[in-house]
């Protein structure tokens, strides 16, 4: 509403569109494994790179991968890079406090998985090479459909330091995504 004579310059128009995304079989299989507390990847039959989460193909060789190519991957790894975010408040944002997101190179994976929460570590102590392990959500809180291929979804709430000695640059230097 405006008082007589005022010019209305903006008309708020909030549009809500609902989308249902059917989980692809490859992603559903990954989700089920995560539900059961197992991290899995697909190993390319041509170049042997291990993709976590699996995509159903190797984008470098352009070769399809399937359940036959499934390999177990651990839930421990190394922080290769990170940032500390001051969350911007936008419609739908639930974060309020600063938090850290890291790229993690899991033992057994060929590439990093990005934007993983770092837990139980003061922000100034985060460093490249830090050894971490997954913090799994309680079984009844894991939703196998969550995440839609964005990392681990709700099965893993984050990663915390293991206390082991840091990995050297030869481990993380090539993986600074």
């Amino acid at each position: 509403m405006s008082e007589q004579g005022d010019v209305i310059k903006f008309m708020p128009q909030v549009i809500s569109l609902d989308y249902i995304v059917r989980t692809a079989p490859v992603n559903a299989e990954f989700g089920r494994n995560m539900q059961a507390g197992r991290v899995t990847g697909h190993k390319c039959p041509q170049c042997a790179r291990v993709y976590v989460p699996p995509k159903g193909f190797c984008p470098i060789c352009v070769v399809e991968t399937s359940k036959a190519d499934e390999v177990p991957v651990t839930d421990r790894g190394v922080v290769t890079s990170w940032t500390v975010l001051t969350p911007i408040q936008y419609h739908g944002q639930n974060e309020r406090e600063d938090y850290a997101l890291a790229s993690i190179l899991l033992d057994g994976a060929s590439g990093t998985i990005g934007q993983q929460r770092l837990l139980d570590v003061p922000l100034p102590e985060i460093r490249m090479g830090m050894r971490v392990e997954a913090v799994w959500a309680p079984e009844d809180k894991r939703n196998e459909d969550d995440g839609r291929g964005w990392g681990f979804g709700s099965a893993i709430t984050g990663f915390k330091p293991t206390g082991e000695p840091d990995a050297g640059p030869e481990i993380y230097e090539e993986h600074q995504l």
Binding site: Y19, A24, P25, N27, G56, I60, V62, E64
Partner: protein, 351 residues
């Protein structure tokens, strides 16, 4: 102008709802188009694709589609947020430069994820039209009404188009809708949005398609019967349905004229008419007589993966030359409410 030909085409079966990601859907289609072309990935000098974020329900949705192309080492590539037919146009222009001979064109769309009648409202002017939530079916109905009121067609003509499309669809393994139906049977359906009946409207489809273009003699080296792009052009009309005569399509007529449709007889025309009345308007605008076989594939009425329908029409027009021995065919693509934007591609075989 350099002569450019289509040498291969592949499409995913159009499905009501696909349980793959868009990238996973594209992957075998692109691989197939490349294999059928007789060329290798390394031969491709330029790649162009089409897709729409709002169908996928995510920003930058096209980025992950890059994984289906083998973009390592890095490739020369571009993307339009439009039907793949316009990506084909960009690739055709790029090939004119002379430094590359082969282009890959592809597009994909997952319309099943959201409510298309809501989503496409966002194609309208955000200040005046969008807040009306005038969906594309209702706007199409307005155009059908304009056509009927101008005395240019009767409702039974619409049902005739719809019936023929379904009958043709029976022979098309990629058709989502098909059947041995008559116009009278369809005419007895109640309206969906008057004067359009459900059979006058397209199905909601997920799909993908890819095409390989080759310039010059090389096309004949790799393909026994390439389809040469003899003319290609696209034009747009004013956006607001109220300022144009909806019973005609000025932009389609203009594109057809610039593409040289009338230069010689067209044997087969694949028109991206998603609604039955659109086929009548387009036939007239493109100057297609009764002797032209329109939409032997069933057209967009039997499968309408948005962002792909136009590329599929051009692909089917290619198949008519490459597989069915035709000499001169036409593929059409459209975008926007009430046939606002139109692309016409005339294909010819070697004589």
């Amino acid at each position: 102008m350099r002569d450019v030909a289509i040498v291969s085409f592949a499409q995913a079966p159009s499905l009501a709802a696909v349980d793959k990601t868009e990238t996973q859907m594209l992957y075998p289609v692109i691989t197939s188009a490349i294999e059928r072309s007789g060329l290798g990935r390394k031969d491709i000098g330029f790649t162009c694709s089409g897709s729409a974020d709002y169908l996928a329900g995510a920003p930058f949705a096209f980025v992950s589609n890059l994984e289906a192309t083998g973009a390592w080492p890095p490739i020369s590539e571009s993307h339009v947020e439009m039907d793949g037919a316009f990506a084909l146009y960009e690739a055709w222009v790029r090939l004119q430069h002379g430094d590359v001979d082969v282009a890959l064109v592809f597009s994909s769309g997952v319309s099943s994820r959201g409510n298309l009648r809501e989503i496409l409202c966002l194609q309208n002017d955000p200040y005046y039209l969008m807040p009306l939530w005038a969906d594309h079916v209702s706007l199409a109905a307005l155009q059908a009404r304009a056509l009927l009121d101008a005395g240019l067609a009767k409702e039974s003509d619409l049902s005739e188009v719809a019936a023929r499309a379904r009958r043709n669809g029976q022979a098309n393994p990629n058709a989502q809708v098909s059947g041995d139906v008559t116009a009278d049977e369809l005419l007895s359906e109640p309206y969906l949005v008057a004067p359009l009946r459900p059979s006058d409207c397209p199905p909601v489809s997920d799909g993908a398609a890819a095409v390989i273009l080759v310039a010059g003699e090389r096309a004949r080296d790799v393909c026994e019967r390439p389809a040469w792009i003899r003319g290609i052009d696209h034009r747009v009309d004013p956006h607001y349905p109220g300022v144009r005569d909806l019973s005609t399509s000025a932009s389609a007529a203009l594109a057809a004229a610039n593409a040289g449709v009338a230069d010689a007889p067209i044997e087969v025309a694949e028109l991206a008419a998603a609604f039955s009345h659109e086929e009548l308007i387009l036939r007239d605008a493109l100057g297609l007589g009764d002797d032209v076989d329109v939409n032997p594939s069933g057209g967009a009425l039997v499968a309408n993966p948005m962002m792909v329908s136009g590329l599929i029409r051009i692909g089917e027009a290619f198949r008519q030359i490459n597989e069915k021995g035709k000499q001169r065919t036409l593929g059409h693509a459209t975008s926007g409410p009430c046939l606002q934007q139109n692309l016409v591609c005339v294909l010819e075989a070697d004589s």
